[in-house]
Structures are given as structure tokens and as C-alpha cells.
Symmetry: C2
């Protein structure tokens, strides 16, 4: 305790993080920074009365595309609500001329307006802001979404009280990594739908495109399964106030789709399954104390056929409920002590010739599970242990690297074996510390390991993880933003974008923009926003 | 970074804090624990339709006491709003009988209903819960406030959806320490009035009785002074959106008074005054770079008479605006480098015979300031450096111990010198760390230093401090509660109340109660509340 307190000797300056020098970035509040951007000093006026977003005539997608129309409305509200309410223009400086229109032009024949986003979705866009018309060109709607959020509306002045204005700008943008995810955990604490939706919205502002929904785990099972309703009936914290109904799940998936965000659910087995056992008899392994059952249970019971029957039906449902091409199957942190205590399991180990190697039993289970899921035509993601234990994986498996030690070696091994991988190890946002820890997240570089170009290409991205032990609706959102924004830029922008001072300046403004739009993103450091958070 | 990341190897169990075993406390959700409490297994029903709070006939204070009537209304709402809305009683178990009335009986002739609370206020109360009438007896209104909040309404079952009920209970309660404070910093980030009021409310639920308002500091000067309006005009983050007007201040003081909370403002000088200099010419010392002024400024200029004229007028105003008997004068962290650079200051040092000892110059300033404040009849609190530097202090001075090293030696010295003291060193809540750090705050013991009984009596309490670098309206409230609640119990309850498991059980329930009442108190650990936070 003293070693910790010693750092308190000077009240206000005692962290291991740098204090970025304050100053304006030439890129205003752009976050994450586009791949290529040119900002001119010429400024155009954006008038709330006359400005509108239109579909370009040549666009392959237009008024019939709900996704785009929905997005236009959203962004129109963000920019103009306050100024239109005031209903007047008090021009203070002479501006070059008016900008009256943003044309959105989807250039490829199939706009993908009604599709779900995927890991291969084209998110690129080009934005040219000139007078009197700005043009946002994108092959697919996904690029239009990315461009709208940060290419067009995030340059200078747009969140001031003054008249809205925008610099002449040219942007050509695309993501560095295809998988830019955020893990939220709805088992350790239940998160009301409202909280999930608000954070999906904030994800879009930060160009995240995967919501990794760690939906169930040991503490509770809030997923209401149509096939096995008893799972949440008995395994949720409360059978109807603390569950996600099928229509809740549908709403979340559609809300995410409209923002170009995939929803990848995680149903983690065979460990982390205490809550499953409450509603599903015989699913978990009975632990023994000496010669008799102790009354407590361990991981999923891998020796019973009923286990695999259950998993077949369960994942068949998951396949129909979640449209994404991938499901996360977990496979982390399996505790062997209960298996070891159980005489039936011991016998089974003998029969199978596993000796005393319980990781073989684990792999036995996982292998059968993967085969089951493969029949549903889903791809799967798994935590790194499954790979480490030598389970045979489909070639399109995504290995999720999370362990904090030997990260680079692990990335090397996984890609050497030819698997795609995503990284979370540096981005456990539940680990908090005093000061500006966004810098730590920002500095992490996913491709710093040794490997060939082909290996590097297998790193398709990463995920920020906010495990749920210490967060719920009361504190999740400010703990997440803008710390996750640092990960957002690392995964979207060019590898060379790493200037902490420039990042600080842009991020501080970006954070105030999130606050103004209603998300309680916490402050980076001493300072203020023109519009402070209005809730409590 | 690696040493930090190593702890992430196991996702969910990696802190230096104990994991308390879950279990019900025999004291339900009582927080902080009363000095003496007896809870019987006999349970009475509290019916929303018939239950009321009355002034006892013999009470010296009644319907004309706004403070009490206001409190009755508040607590009636907390308990019954939801159940009265439902408008029905679904009795599930037979209860002993109805409890229809709480009588509040102020026993001393002067109830102090219209007074401000002070360090000598009597906060004791006795509560007897029996059928059909519960009686809350207190010498003064302050005890009635304390009793109401936690003596009566916090025992079992009161925040369930089920019918409200209460056990037969006898409580005799009083605080261990008279000064139980919370420091909030409105300079590093401006805190909207709404945030301050919400946290005053939460303070009352945790039996805090001093709001230490660190109102101005280097970054901004949000206090709107009637005498020197230019201070906030130029020194606030924004001259009218980021200031506290005289009526704001009045409202905060009255809101606090109605909850038995003192408001002690801090105007910290001569350091921490950068923002003062923006509106008040010549107040700060010009720093030199070689032979000429550098353009930057240091601490208050101690050699000019105008400085003392200003302080006289300023603290005269402070005396009229803030009714509390004490003002906090700061005096911490004075940086000598600017004084050293200034040739006029060097000359002044020579004239005064201070040699090269700039702490003598600091003391020279502070001494004159204390004399000025003494003429306004205010007592003062100061940070420990002022005492350490040997400044002559009035006998009723409160020395505020905050430095993390040698805490016990400092307490020993201060009390040996005969001064009253309050402790903050173990309770810097801005220092966050992963896991259940409330345990660290809870374990701290203010009287563990070596000293006579007389010395121990000079420790009148402590304060939890939430400095403002990293908190504003977006995250302050969940970061504060229930972590500050741990300090609340340490300062109110008996020294022997230290059982972590019992505390965990009560605090988890207490935190859910705060959530249900609208305060986003963050979770202690994995789990849930029957009523989760409704905001986002």
C-alpha cells in the first residue's frame, strides 16, 4: 500500500504516462485519422437551413436503402439539431461560400445495402469537400458509413456553437485492419439493451466494425434460447428482467448492421459454463470430494453423448439467430481439477488413452464441438489455448490472442501455422490504472512480431476487451470511451500514425464530440468541453 | 508495461485484493454500521397506504421545521414511490403486524432546525422500531437526519420489489469522528450544479457531513466573485457556462444544510493560483528568464501590499458567502522556482533576512493571510505543509494531512503540537487501480499512530479526496460511489468494525440501494441489482 501511496506525494503529477503538450492538430478533430487526407485553409459555410444530404444520381443505392437514409438522418441531427433550434445564422467571419449539399455515391453495382457486413466488406471511401457540393464516393454502403461518420463531419469547427463550417478537404480512406472489434461481457453484469445500443453507436463513431458479444459465462446466462428456455430461466440473474429475448437480440443485430457493425456472439465452452448447468441437467461434470460427488460442478462433461446432442441443437439455434459468418467458441481457461476428481472421467481418460493429459480431454471435446459447428456452416473464432493445445482447426479459423505474456511469439506461431488471428492482449480495458492509459493502448503495434509478409497479412485485426467484473450500466460507457478510441485509431489508421501529441489534440476534441452527442466519454486530462455532459 | 500485462494472464482473477466470501450480513444493508444495534427476527409490515412519518408530540421541532419536513418527504419517496405506484399489497408471508408510524422526537429545547451544521453538532440518535410505532429520538435535527437515512430505512428487505417490511430493531448511534468529509475539485474540470447536488445527496446516505469544495485552482476559476467578477470572467473555462454564480453557491449550501452537511470552501494560495492571475493584474509573481520577465507567472506575489489588500477584500466576501465557521486556505505545493528567478523577490528576501530559505517567504505570506482571515472571525484549515514550515497557527486550526509517506509521524507531530487534524492520505480516490480497492480505503485506521489519548482526540476525522484531473460529469459519480462509502463507514462506525466479508455483503446491498435511488454507484464485483441503473 505504501508503494502505491508514495506516488501521491505530489497531488497532481504522478503517472508513468507522458503529458502530451497541448496544441492544435492540423487534422482538427479527425479520429481515427484517414489514410490520406488533404485539408485546405479554404472554409465553406454549412447552413442548416439549406444543407442536405442527397443520393448521387449515378449511385447504385438511394432512397430505397434504409441503411443510408437512416444514416443521413442520424448525422443531420448530430450536426444541425442545436443550430436549427437557434434558428439563425450569426456569421462572424467571411466564409468562402456556401456548401449546400453532400452527394453520396455508391459506385459498385451491388451496394450491399441489405446485406450484413463481413470481414471482407469494402469499407473504403473517397470524400471530396468542395463548393457547392461535397461528394462521398464509396464502392459499398459500408464505405459511405465510414466516410460519413468521420470523413465529412469531423473536421474543423463542427462541434462549436458557432456557425457550422468545413474546410475544403480531400480524403481517400480505408481501414488498415478488417477486424476492429470490441468485446462486452453481459454475464458478469447484465447490460440493459439501452447501454448496448449506446455503445454500438459510439463504436460506429470510432470506426469499430465488430461487436464481440461475450453473452454468457459462469455468473449468468442472459441469452434467452428458444430451444432451451430453461437455460436463462434458471441461469440468468433474473428470468425476465435480466435476459435478452429473441427480439432484443434481433434489434441489437439490426442496429449494429445499420452502422456497419458485425455481431459475433461468444458461447464459451467447456469452461466458463457454471450458469449453463443451472438449467441443463447433466451438462456439467460433477466434481467429487473423495469417493462421492461434492455437489459442485466443473466444465462441460465431455464423455456424455447427451452433451453433444445438446450442443448440436444449441448451435443450430445460434446459427439461425446470429447472421454473422462467425461464432466465437471460447475455449479458454479450462480448469482440470474437477475432471481429475471424477472417477467416471478418469475411466474415460484411460479408455481414450489420454494418460494423465487432461488437455487431450479438452481437445477431444473442442474437436467434436468444432465439427458440430462446422455442419452449421459457421466459421469460428477461438481463444488462443485451443490452438496452443493442438486442436485441429478449420483453415478459416480465427485465433484470438489474449494472453499478456509472449504475445509476439504467439502471433508468430499462429501465423506460421497459417491461421488468421486477432489481437486483444494489449487492449484489456478492464485493467485500469491512474493517468492517461490510452497512451499505452495507442502505442501497441499488432505487427511488431517477427514473420514474413504473408504471416503479417494473417493478422486481420484486434479487439478491445472490457470484461465485466467491475463494470455495469453505471460506469461502463465512461470507462470505455475514449480509451477504446485509442484502439480504434490503431486498427484503422496507417501504422505510422503514432504521434502522441497530435493524437492527444484530436482525441480530446473527438471526446468532446462524443459527449455532446450524449455519450459520457470520460476526460483524458484536465480541461473542459464547450458542452459538458448533461446527465449525472 | 509487461509487468502490468502479466497480471492479465488469467482474465478474471488477478488483483492484490481479497475476494470476500459472499454471504448475508446479520446487519442486512445497514451502512455505515451503527454503534449499537439489535435486530430481532420479528418482522413488521410497512404499508405504503397507511404508513406515515410524524413529529412526536413532545418534540421541540415539528411542522414548522423545513429541514425535517423536507427530509420526511425525501425518504417517503425513496421507500414508497415504486410500491405506491403499483397500488396493491400482495402479502406473501404472514408478518407480525403492521408498522404504521414513525415518530420523530427532537429532545433538546433548541432543535437547531434553522442553524448550519458545525463540527460540534450533535448527530446522535436512538431508534426503536416496534409495532405499531417506531420512534426516532435525537437531541438535534442532525441526529434525526442521520437516523432517518440509515437507522430506519436501511435494514432488511427495503429495496426489494416485495412488500416493504422492517425488523424489530433497536439502535443507539453516534459518529466516531465529527469531521467526515469529501473533497471535490471544480477547477480541473467544471462540475455542473446537478452533479454536485446529486453527490451531496449520496454523501448524506453515507453519513458524510463536510463538503470540502476545492472550488478554484490553477486550471480554472469558476467562482463568480461579486467583489472581483473579473476573476471568473477571465479565469473560468467559460465566463458564463462554466461558473458558479452567487445563487448557485447559495443553493448548494442550503441543499447541503438540509442534509446536515457543512460546505467548507477552499481558496488555495499562494500556489495553485494560475487562474487567479488571468483576471487580477499583479497578483502573481512574474517569473524571469535571465534578466527579463519570461511572460509566465508563479505563486501569489508576497512582497506587494496590493496582494494583501486584495486578499482582505476577497476573504471578506468569502466570509459572507460561506456560512461555515471554517475556510480551507490550502497552502500546499508551493513551487519556489519562479520566486527564485525574480530579482525583486531576491531583494525582498535579503531585506527580510530570509537568506535563501524560500519556505520563510512562503510562511511570511501565509502568516499575513492567516491574520487577515482571522479578522473575519473564520477558523481555517490548511494543508500539512503550512504546519511543517513552522507557520504560527491559531489554536483552533485544522491541519489537513495528505502526504502519503510518513503519515503516522505527521499525525504524531501535529497532535503533539496540540492542533486538531483531519486525515486524507489513505483516501485519495482519484488514484484508481484494478479490483476492489474499496478494501484498501476501508482498512485504513486514522488512530494507528503513537500518541496519548489526548493526542488521539485531536484527530477529528478525515476526508476522501477526488481530485479532478481525470473526472468530470461523465464519470465522477460512479468513480466516487461506493468507494467513498468505505471511508464513510471508517469515519462513522466503531473502530472494531473491520470485517471485510460482512462489509462486502452490506456494501453490495447499500450500493444497489444507491443505484435504485438514481445514483450510478459502480459495482464492487460480479453480480447484479434487482433494479439496475436506468440511465446510460
Amino acid at each position: 500500500m505504501l508503494s502505491c501511496q508514495l506516488s501521491a506525494d505530489w497531488q497532481h503529477h504522478s503517472t508513468s504516462y507522458e503529458e502530451p503538450t497541448l496544441g492544435d492538430s492540423p487534422y482538427g478533430s479527425l479520429w481515427p485519422l484517414p489514410q490520406k487526407v488533404q485539408i485546405s485553409t479554404v472554409v465553406f459555410k454549412l447552413s442548416g437551413a439549406s444543407f442536405h444530404i442527397f443520393d448521387a444520381k449515378a449511385s447504385s443505392s438511394g432512397a430505397s436503402c434504409r441503411l443510408l437514409q437512416n444514416a443521413y438522418r442520424r448525422y443531420d441531427e448530430y450536426i444541425f439539431t442545436s443550430s436549427r433550434k437557434q434558428g439563425q445564422n450569426k456569421s462572424k467571419k467571411a466564409l468562402a461560400s456556401d456548401m449546400s449539399e453532400l452527394q453520396v455515391w455508391i459506385t459498385s453495382a451491388d451496394s450491399e445495402c441489405d446485406s450484413y457486413p463481413s470481414v471482407t466488406s469494402d469499407e473504403s471511401y473517397k470524400l471530396s469537400v468542395d463548393s457547392p457540393v461535397a461528394v462521398l464516393k464509396a464502392p459499398k454502403v459500408w464505405g459511405a458509413l465510414r466516410g460519413r461518420v468521420h470523413g465529412f463531419y469531423s473536421t474543423h469547427c463542427l462541434y462549436s456553437d458557432e456557425e457550422k463550417s468545413i474546410n475544403r478537404t480531400d480524403i481517400h480512406d480505408f481501414p488498415r485492419f478488417a477486424h476492429r472489434g470490441l468485446l462486452l461481457d453481459t454475464s458478469r453484469h447484465f447490460l440493459p439493451i439501452k447501454v448496448i445500443l449506446a455503445n454500438l453507436e459510439a463504436m460506429a463513431w470510432n470506426k469499430f466494425n465488430v461487436f464481440h458479444w461475450h453473452i454468457v459465462d459462469d455468473p449468468s446466462f442472459p441469452y434467452l434460447s428458444r430451444t432451451f428456455p430453461q437455460l436463462s430461466q434458471h441461469g440468468a440473474y433474473h428470468p425476465y428482467t435480466h435476459v435478452y429475448t429473441p427480439s432484443d437480440v434481433k434489434m441489437i443485430i439490426e442496429f449494429a448492421r445499420l452502422r456497419g457493425i458485425r455481431v459475433v456472439p461468444e458461447f464459451d465452452t467447456p469452461g466458463h459454463t457454471q450458469s449453463w448447468g443451472k438449467g441443463q441437467k447433466d451438462l456439467l461434470t460433477p466434481c467429487y470430494s473423495g469417493a462421492s460427488p461434492s455437489g459442485s460442478f466443473g466444465p462441460v462433461n465431455p464423455m456424455l453423448n447427451t452433451t453433444y446432442d445438446f450442443m448440436s441443437m444449441f448451435f443450430k439455434e445460434v446459427n439461425t439467430v446470429f447472421p454473422d459468418a462467425y461464432v466465437h467458441l471460447g475455449g479458454d481457461e479450462v480448469d482440470f481439477s474437477c475432471w481429475k476428481s471424477n472417477p467416471d472421467i478418469q475411466k474415460f481418460m484411460e479408455q481414450q488413452g489420454f494418460g494423465m493429459d487432461y488437455s487431450k480431454l479438452e481437445s477431444f471435446y473442442i474437436q467434436r464441438l468444432l465439427d458440430i459447428v462446422t455442419t452449421t456452416n459457421k466459421g469460428y473464432m477461438i481463444w488462443q489455448e485451443v490452438f496452443d493445445n493442438g486442436v485441429k482447426l478449420k483453415s478459416d479459423t480465427v485465433v484470438h490472442v489474449w494472453m499478456g505474456n509472449k504475445v509476439e511469439e504467439e502471433l508468430q506461431k499462429v501465423t506460421e501455422a497459417g491461421f488468421t488471428t486477432i489481437l486483444s492482449a494489449p487492449w484489456y480495458l478492464d485493467y485500469i490504472s491512474y493517468g492517461q492509459d490510452w497512451q499505452k493502448f495507442y502505442r501497441a503495434e499488432p505487427l511488431s512480431f517477427k514473420g514474413t509478409d504473408a504471416q503479417k497479412k494473417l493478422v486481420i485485426g484486434g479487439e478491445a476487451c472490457l470484461w465485466g467484473e467491475y463494470v455495469d450500466a453505471t460506469n461502463l460507457t465512461p470507462r470505455l470511451w475514449p480509451r477504446a478510441s485509442a484502439v480504434g485509431e490503431r486498427l484503422w489508421s496507417d501504422r505510422d500514425v503514432r504521434d502522441l501529441n497530435d493524437a492527444y489534440s484530436r482525441l480530446a476534441k473527438h471526446r468532446c464530440r462524443m459527449v455532446q452527442r450524449g455519450i459520457p466519454a470520460e476526460p483524458l486530462f484536465t480541461g473542459y468541453c464547450a458542452h459538458e455532459y448533461k446527465g449525472v
